[in-house]
């Protein structure tokens, strides 16, 4: 009896979820239609504003997350932020990507190597540090 009611409830929930999903689809399509003509016309400005929005929000996320880091782990925090800031390798890989050699590919090669030192070194040294933090037996 109870389980029957439960299944019915779940079915209704699923239906309404599907409803919401299709509405969201429609909304997305509308939004896309709205943006599509505007985008090519003002791509420089719009892209910058969008990226800047992401930037400001990310600074806020960083601010609140980092204040929650316990002071005892400030050294691992530095080494792990060091490792993740090497995500700059993304730009380096694109530069090193083309098949034929020219100046920018050389730059890319060097940057990939430099960022790799950091990625491997940063994560490993963080792991080494964190491994040492143990509770009282």
């Amino acid at each position: 009896m109870a389980s029957e009611k439960f299944t019915q409830g779940m079915e209704r929930l699923a239906e309404s979820a599907a409803d919401v999903a299709s509405q969201a689809d429609a909304l997305a399509a509308q939004a896309a239609a709205l943006v599509a003509p505007a985008a090519p016309a003002a791509s420089g400005g719009t892209t910058f504003v969008m990226l800047f929005t992401i930037f400001v929000l990310a600074v806020f996320v960083g601010y609140y997350v980092v204040w929650n880091v316990t002071p005892a782990l400030h050294s691992p925090l530095m080494s792990v932020t060091n490792a993740i800031s090497s995500v700059i390798i993304v730009g380096a890989l694109i530069a090193a990507g083309p098949a034929d050699w020219h100046l920018s590919k050389v730059f890319g090669f060097v940057a990939v190597a430099l960022a790799s030192v950091n990625i491997f070194g940063g994560f490993i040294v963080t792991q080494r540090m964190l491994q040492m933090f143990k509770k009282k037996k």
Binding site: T70, S85, A92, L93, G97, L114, G121
Partner: protein, 462 residues
């Protein structure tokens, strides 16, 4: 892979990076956090490798192997006492990588969708030059910080007449160059920006004294993040922008915490000229007397105490005394003494340095407490054992408004029943301030090397 898929995967890796930092809120979740960070990095790299214009996998593999091997080797070999210099060295690499990526974008803008060489949008050029400038400053600044921490360059602040004017002139020159570069986009402009920024990085860090390094190293951490951000804007890559912003704000918060721990403004640290290692072996004692004791005296006092609070500082790291110290604490604990550790925010040469060294010596992290957690317990504490710390225990920070460290939050060790102070000589700390604690009735100085003193106490306890 479509652009949307790529953007989605970059978003996932950014979220994983946030979770990596989130994990550090407690030692129990931290290792999982680090794993999130690694997965995030793998996703970001794999996404980029799957892009249609990334073709030469062999070249990339060679570069990753060279860098990865070097990084792994260094990270596995480094001693925990040398952690600050390692982090400084790693910062310099991020800075240099940013310069190279910006250079690549300038010489082959079509690869990044920035247009043709010589016809890059002014906005992109400004973003590019900001990334380059911050990257180059981070590079040389970190190298100088590394040199100071490693002892290759004197830890004393190097100041010369008109220093700030030179820096100001270079800063203005940099802005003018960026404007010129963004309007006419000459290759010469790019390299001039690099050159001036490299010089500026050296000049900015040179006047800052060795013991202000916790602030400097956090600040450079922040810069490396902003450099990544600048490159992220150039390449219109949200993952780079988000990560750069996370790192940038993290470093900024750490610098703020360090400055607060010293009661100094960020600008006074940056302008430099403060402190420097004083070598004065003996000070004019006047009519004040110092009580000094031996390892045997110290062991007797601590053995008969109910509670001991250990206050470690940079001197402990220099003497590599953390293992002997933990052994001493274990012996005391086996004799029924309660032992805890008190860490000042600026103890050591980088944020959290003491915690890592104690963890390395197998001290459980729940015995290690921060200033505001333990400061109230000193009045009810029997013995404070100060080892390698000095200025952070100086009571004149509370009582003497003329003292250079007045207002700095300190550990109230003098309120304990007895203070045991391990020190090589009566020389003042880096702030060049005499510590009245040495001359108090309830203080006993234990002159000698921190490690040898701990070993001596261990022998006496056994």
């Amino acid at each position: 892979m479509s652009q949307n898929t790529a953007a989605f995967l970059y978003l996932i890796s950014s979220v994983l990076f946030v979770l990596a930092l989130r994990g550090l809120s407690s030692p129990t979740t931290a290792r999982q956090g680090n794993l999130f960070g690694i997965v995030g990095m793998v996703i970001a790299v794999a996404t980029t490798l799957a892009m249609p214009n990334v073709l030469s996998y062999t070249t990339i593999l060679v570069a990753v192997l060279i860098g990865g091997t070097a990084g792994t080797f260094i990270a596995l070999r480094i001693q925990m006492t040398a952690l600050p210099q390692l982090v400084a060295a790693f910062h310099s690499l991020v800075g240099l990588a940013a310069v190279f990526v910006a250079g690549a974008a300038f010489y082959a803008p079509e690869a990044y969708g920035l247009g043709a060489p010589g016809a890059i949008a002014a906005g992109s050029l400004v973003e590019m030059s900001l990334g380059t400038a911050i990257g180059a400053i981070t590079f040389t600044g970190s190298i100088i910080a590394f040199g100071k921490l490693q002892g290759l360059i004197t830890g004393k602040p190097l100041v010369f007449f008109g220093q700030h004017f030179v820096n100001l002139a270079l800063g203005i020159g940099l802005v003018v160059l960026i404007v010129w570069f963004a309007t006419a986009q000459p290759a010469l402009g790019f390299w001039a920006i690099v050159l001036i920024s490299l010089l500026l990085g050296v000049l900015l860090i040179v006047p800052i004294g060795g013991a202000d390094m916790p602030v400097v190293i956090s600040m450079l951490n922040s810069y490396s993040g902003w450099a990544a951000c600048g490159i992220g804007f150039t390449l219109s890559n949200p993952a780079l922008i988000i990560t750069g912003a996370l790192v940038g704000s993290s470093g900024a918060i750490l610098s703020y915490i360090m400055c607060k721990g010293m009661n100094r403004s960020f600008f006074s640290v940056i302008l430099g000229g403060f402190g420097g290692e004083t070598d004065a072996a003996a000070m004019d004692l006047g009519d004040r007397t110092v009580k000094s004791g031996s390892a045997a005296d110290a062991s007797f006092i601590m053995e008969n105490a109910a509670s001991v609070i250990i206050v470690p500082g940079y001197g402990m790291a220099v003497a590599q005394a953390q293992h002997a110290l933990r052994e001493m604490a274990d012996l005391l604990k086996s004799k029924g003494v309660t032992v805890r550790y008190a860490i000042h925010p600026v103890a050591g040469r980088m944020p959290g340095h003491m915690n890592v060294l104690l963890a390395e010596a197998n001290v459980p992290y729940d015995e290690v407490l921060e200033l505001d957690e333990i400061n109230r317990d000193f009045p009810s504490n029997d013995v404070a054992f100060v080892i390698g710390a000095n200025d952070v225990t100086n009571p004149s920070a509370k009582t003497d408004p003329t003292s250079p460290i007045y207002g700095m939050p300190i550990l109230d060790v003098e309120r304990s029943g007895t203070v045991l102070f391990v020190k090589r000589s009566l020389a003042s700390g880096y702030a060049g301030v005499d510590n009245p604690l040495f001359y108090r009735d309830n203080t006993m100085m234990l002159f000698g090397d921190a490690k040898q003193m701990c070993e001596g106490i261990i022998k006496a306890l056994e």
